[in-house]
Symmetry: C2
Subunit: 333 residues, 2 copies
DNA sequence: CTGTTAGCGCCTTCAC
DNA sequence: GTGAAGGCGCTAACAG
């Protein structure tokens, strides 16, 4: 058993043409006579030749791979985005280098670096916090970057999102219409601009529009985990809150179970809206009312946008805002 | 703004040494005087030089990236494995090319091919069905491959798993001890050897060990989705089944909700065990009793095993079987 | 339409 | 300890 050694040179020799010609048929260059093309193709098949993408990358300066930075694949929100990204990437003949960052700035910076050293053609970044360092890295990188389901208040990079503020505003108003006035805002980290600058704002403006005074005590900041939500339920009960908007599904799931396990009936005595409509929302009992984000599409559109940028096509809109809807299931009246 | 052009040659010139020397300090080769080393390092820093991994890969025939084939990142079982894989990969300075296959043989073959053309140093394969074609591809590839949480009855490739048969046997026996005799085996596709050759076998042997006659009618084959489970509940009710073992968590979640929504109380009138203990198991109400697979570890160990193989280290055991436990929560008595 | 010739950026003997 | 030189496998002008 020898190692795979057959190179473009071998197939050139075997088929009695030059490597240039082989390269041409490989790359679908039209300037090849049909006959020669077929001859070469046959040899390629006979020799079981497989072009070396690394050599190709070095010569052409294109690797047909894009980097994807994700906080955690295990998170249903991000993995849904990732799936959309990969599908579109595959469609455009790209592969994906996936790297978990845990939203940790150091890891992000480090990963970004190794991605760049691997000469990826582009990068899709997902992350909840984008700080100045990262923005600077992005700028310096001279590599196409698109944010997917991730917000940069500075709009320093192209991105694909929904209107988070508007969505939360909408949810909150429905809660108000249902007669609630003590509505909690159950949030993941406020270091995240989505939460602090967008969702919270939507929450506040819904309150104001309806003459309800904003009460800082009803804003609960957590790390956004299921456990956080579960524990938070106790506090929510003590604070006599009658409804809540949660910024992500696992947190909401925790709150829901926390309330139910403590004897509160949802939605009769407590209403709850969540924000991502991951699979989880439908699996909970009662099922969670939610903003329905087009998660897969956000990833898909982000990847599509990236291909355009890598391809230097004209871009009409670098800051895509996809539509969302609200589905009322059983956690609201 | 120029493109990044600084190469090893530039830093060689700037620091007044040859590229060979720069290459040496880059690769931690000891045969470099401390003084020169520092000088070079400084220039590297000044020039903001970043070695080109592609060129490096071509020259050294090592890309420090491994391919990961996964049915669907969106699936909690596999994404947990993927997380373990990535963490260990990162620890050993590898990156991961992640590709979704949907368990589709064509996609798997195609992805495998492009992975090989990209000269990955190794591959972690996750998938529920491994057929002869795939085995042949593996064999022909001459590339280290490890299966993670995926079973190959032929043991043609190194793998990391738990003892699925034993685990299901255990669950089933507990159900029997609780007084059940009409126990369903709710399964994903029987084309999958884990289900057909392992889990089902465990189920059957538990029955036999306890003098219960195996009833084929109580084996329900589905595609393993949440919806499948939900629908299946009706049939389960009609068949007067009093307990079930499900082969994966989403399926179990569907069954659970399907039963509950149809007015059956769990675990009083129906007991349920599931098999993967993903996050979901704890989020359901009642919480799902389950086999607790060390998902993250399976991925991590698989990746570690792969590094050893890539590194041509001595391997004591190519077919790792990790321990599992059973946690009884509220879906069983 | 096809062949020739340079590299792409780095590693790796082999001398010195 | 350090430099020179030859590839790695392929693409990309440039000729013809």
């Amino acid at each position: 058993m020898e190692k795979q050694n057959v190179t473009i040179y071998d197939v050139a020799r075997e088929s009695g043409v030059s490597m240039a010609t082989v390269s041409r048929v490989l790359n679908g260059n039209s300037n090849v006579r049909q006959a020669t093309k077929e001859k070469v193709l046959k040899v390629i098949d006979d020799l079981d030749y497989r072009p070396n993408a690394v050599a190709r990358g070095l010569a052409s300066k294109k690797t047909t791979t894009v980097g994807v930075i994700i906080p955690d694949v295990t998170d249903g929100y991000f993995s849904s985005l990732a799936r959309g990204i990969d599908d579109i990437a595959t469609m455009y003949k790209y592969n994906i280098i996936l790297a978990n960052s845990d939203d940790n700035p150091d890891k992000e910076a480090s990963v970004l670096n190794t991605l760049l050293s691997k000469q990826v053609d582009g990068i899709i970044f997902m992350g909840n916090e984008i700080n100045d360092d990262l923005r600077a890295d992005f700028k310096r990188s001279d590599c196409p970057i698109v944010l997917a389901g991730s917000v940069d208040i500075n709009n320093s990079v192209p991105s694909v999102n929904i209107d988070y503020a508007d969505a939360v505003k909408n949810e909150t108003e429905r809660l108000i219409k249902n007669g609630n006035s003590r509505i909690a805002f159950a949030s993941g980290s406020m270091k995240q601009d989505v939460n602090k600058k967008y969702r919270l704002k939507g929450y506040v403006s819904a309150l104001e529009n309806n003459g309800i005074k904003f009460n800082e005590k009803l804003v609960f900041e957590t790390k956004g985990t299921y456990e956080d939500g579960y524990d938070l339920a106790e506090q929510i009960i003590n604070d006599k809150v009658t409804a809540a908007v949660a910024t992500n599904d696992e947190l909401a799931a925790g709150i829901l179970n926390g309330m139910t396990d403590r004897g509160v009936s949802v939605p009769q005595d407590f209403e709850l809206f969540t924000s991502n409509n991951t699979k989880l929302a439908k699996m909970m009992r009662p099922q969670l009312s939610s903003i329905t984000q087009p998660l897969y599409d956000i990833g898909a559109v982000a990847m599509r946008l990236l291909t355009k940028i890598m391809n230097k096509e004209e871009i009409d809109n670098r800051y895509v805002v996809l539509g969302y809807e609200i589905v009322e299931r059983d956690s609201t009246k």
